[in-house]
Symmetry: C2
């Protein structure tokens, strides 16, 4: 009996929400694999990544929902990753490739990291390959019709849930700050921005690039906002005009 | 005579280098427009964005190279942007759409920002739309086979040319630091990292996702490196294992 070659686990970035923002490479591999895995949604609704790729999936492909509980308890999480890794390994060890789809970019705060690490610990022969994609800060900047960064600007990205305390320090020197998944800390962030007179430099984007996208160009009068999970806040701390340093509008001569 | 509707200027992100990393949306619009603009290369070689889209262009599309000098002088730059804006406007005001292609993401340190701002100042009726794409830090992380950020990690992106002095401060608290276009300051950065014993947490990627891609997983013995313009350095300041805080490998139970 010939040994079966182990399948590859692909981590495919499917972008921020608009299915058309997957890359050609991501779609090509998604179309090739016999098994497509994704995190299960909550309350019976499909998860974001699953929704994004729905229109790209073929009827003959196995769909493999994997459960990652929304908890902080590391023991529970590790158990869930281990179960998910074995579900994926079931196909890989028979030589079938599996694509795990991730909203945004697979290297950027993604569940895929835990799955892949767990799988490689349990089955070191496992082959993993990731396909980069469009992350939500870039998508939000395009939705806002403004650059995220220009010239010598320094960008800081914070996973907002953990870091309101650090925000003050960062605002002292960063040029552009992106707070990911800002919903649960929005009110605290708003207070900080008000105190520092930065409210007029903050913008919020909900569900960037989806049909339900909502943009708040101005949050000055919005100390509270009922935001969904996929929402982010961009602060242009130093509101430079492109190319001008701080001198204001481009000088076209007189 | 009926007024002609002004064309749209699209800023299309074409990704880090591999032509297959353009998005479906980017390629669809690229295929639709009659005019494709891009920065001219240097020394007679096509520029990066032009190289990336070469295989996607149709013979009937007008190719419009725009010259942006590699200088810091703002007056010279503004003159160049103004000339470029008028070259683009020549087509837009006749109702033809123009796609300006940008390597990486159009909102992320891109020449497009200056062109679009200048055009909107000169011709406020101009319509601009940008299509987000894959930026090089995400592509480099995938090339390295590692996550860029996990959990509560804070990411800092610096355009390396300007900021070696700030690097020390940032290393005091950031979890992950990306130095874009690191070639011109690599030696100084290496000294900083050596002094802080962070060399074993630094990796360099040249020309991510291109056939000429080079990866340095270990720079401990490389105080100098002859790097191309498109090279970046990633420092995992706090080298956490995913999901574990700082406790090391995932605990699978005993």
């Amino acid at each position: 009996m010939t040994a079966v070659q182990v399948g590859t686990l692909y981590g495919i970035s499917v972008g921020p929400g608009d299915p058309e923002l997957i890359t050609l490479k991501g779609l090509r591999i998604l179309n090739q694999v016999p098994v497509v895995a994704f995190p299960t949604g909550i309350r019976g609704k499909p998860g974001m990544a699953q929704q994004i790729v729905e229109k790209w999936l073929g009827g003959e492909q196995v769909q493999l929902p994997l459960t990652f509980p929304y908890v902080q308890d590391f023991v529970l999480l590790a158990q869930a990753w281990q179960v998910a890794a074995e579900q994926v390994w079931h196909y890989l060890h028979r030589g079938q490739d599996v694509a795990f789809v991730c909203e945004g970019d697979v290297s950027f705060y993604s569940t895929f990291t835990y799955l892949a690490e767990m799988l490689q610990q349990l089955h070191p022969e496992c082959i993993v390959q990731t396909i980069p994609g469009v992350c939500s800060p870039m998508a939000a900047a395009s939705a806002l019709g403004m650059p995220l960064t220009v010239r010598d600007q320094c960008l800081v990205v914070l996973p907002a849930l953990y870091v309101v305390a650090e925000l003050e320090t960062i605002l002292d020197w960063a040029d552009v700050v992106v707070l990911m998944k800002v919903s649960s800390v929005y009110e605290q962030v708003w207070q900080v921005l008000e105190r520092r007179q930065l409210l007029n430099r903050a913008r919020v984007v909900e569900r960037a690039t989806l049909p339900e996208q909502v943009i708040y160009e101005n949050v000055c009068d919005r100390p509270t906002l009922n935001l969904p999970y996929f929402s982010l806040l961009i602060i242009k701390v130093t509101e430079k005009e492109p190319g001008t340093g701080d001198e204001g509008k481009l000088n076209l001569g007189s």
